[in-house]
């Protein structure tokens, strides 16, 4: 049975609970300041790419960067519009370290009438030593947009 007093706190910590795939990855939002955000996915053996190394699959890195960049754009739009990814480029600098959560620091650095331009870095121990970086363009859409 869920503790009712705990529930609002958890909702505030995880804006992803209504989003099935982010929830399945255990994604959380860690900090939120100056239009930047940090999303995190805990280390999980189910997400390993190559069992010989224990390194988390690149698909998880793509997913956290796409989610973080999209959310940074929605925040900059004050939640009054949605976004849809137009393109996303990921550069992989090195494999992530087994046992560490994957974090993504993301920001939306420019908004135009139709497009949000975002960038982010994925890291494990320190943001200065990134695992991957991403740049993406997102179409600004009405809420509830379909295609």
């Amino acid at each position: 049975m869920e503790d009712a007093a705990e529930a609002p706190k958890r909702r505030k910590r995880s804006p992803f609970e209504l989003f099935p795939h982010a929830s399945a990855l255990g994604m959380t939002l860690e900090t939120l300041a100056d239009g930047r955000l940090v999303a995190a996915v805990p280390y999980d053996e189910r997400l390993i790419g190559d069992p010989a190394t224990g390194v988390i699959h690149g698909g998880v890195v793509t997913t956290i960067l796409d989610t973080g960049c999209g959310l940074a754009a929605v925040m900059k739009l004050s939640g009054k519009a949605g976004v849809a990814t137009l393109d996303l480029r990921i550069d992989y600098m090195r494999p992530s370290k087994p046992g560490y959560p994957i974090r993504a620091t993301c920001e939306c650095y420019r908004l135009t009438r139709s497009v949000a331009f975002c960038r982010g870095v994925a890291w494990d121990e320190a943001e200065e030593d990134p695992v991957a970086s991403a740049t993406g363009a997102f179409m600004i859409t009405k809420l509830g947009w379909t295609e």
């Binding site: 399945a24 793509t62 137009l86 295609e147």
Partner: protein, 156 residues
């Protein structure tokens, strides 16, 4: 080796290559082959949804399918060459390329159903390979996403 034995050996090698990754099982991606060409299939499941309001598949999962399809095609080409050369390839751990970069274009929103993907190796280099990948759902001619990327080869 007889032809059916040869085919069974190839199928077993493909299974070992594509089913060893826990993440492949987590998102539900598998491969079928026609000769040396692989087709990836991401089996739809509710936890793959990114935005439930539309509903649409998470773009990260579509991106993951594209990346996996490129990696598996490159690793399969390597395995195939070694098997054709008579090596007992595919019995040890798979030799996987590493993604250097990947650029994904999202063309249509992914509907809550299966997604398929195929990769074309534009250049199979000794150190680096260049690959294009497309993903589609109902119609091959209406891709939902396309990507191109560079991959560092195992012996590169």
């Amino acid at each position: 080796m007889s032809e059916p034995e040869e085919e069974a050996r190839r199928d077993a090698a493909l299974e070992r290559l594509t089913l060893t990754s826990p993440y492949h099982r987590f998102i539900g991606v598998g491969f079928t082959r026609m000769g040396d060409e692989l087709t990836g299939r991401l089996a739809y499941s509710g936890h793959l949804i990114g935005n439930p309001a539309i509903p649409a598949l998470h773009g990260g999962v579509t991106g993951a399918l594209l990346e996996i399809t490129a990696l598996m095609q490159l690793a399969w080409d390597d395995l195939w060459r070694r098997m054709e050369a008579g090596e007992a390839a595919g019995e040890g751990p798979p030799r996987l390329p590493k993604t250097i970069d990947l650029t994904i274009d999202y063309l249509r929103s992914g509907r809550p159903r299966d997604v398929f993907a195929r990769a074309t190796v534009l250049k199979a280099g000794r150190r680096v390979s260049n690959v294009r990948i497309e993903a589609w759902q109902d119609a091959r001619g209406r891709p939902i996403a396309a990507a191109h990327g560079h991959f560092l080869m195992p012996d590169g």
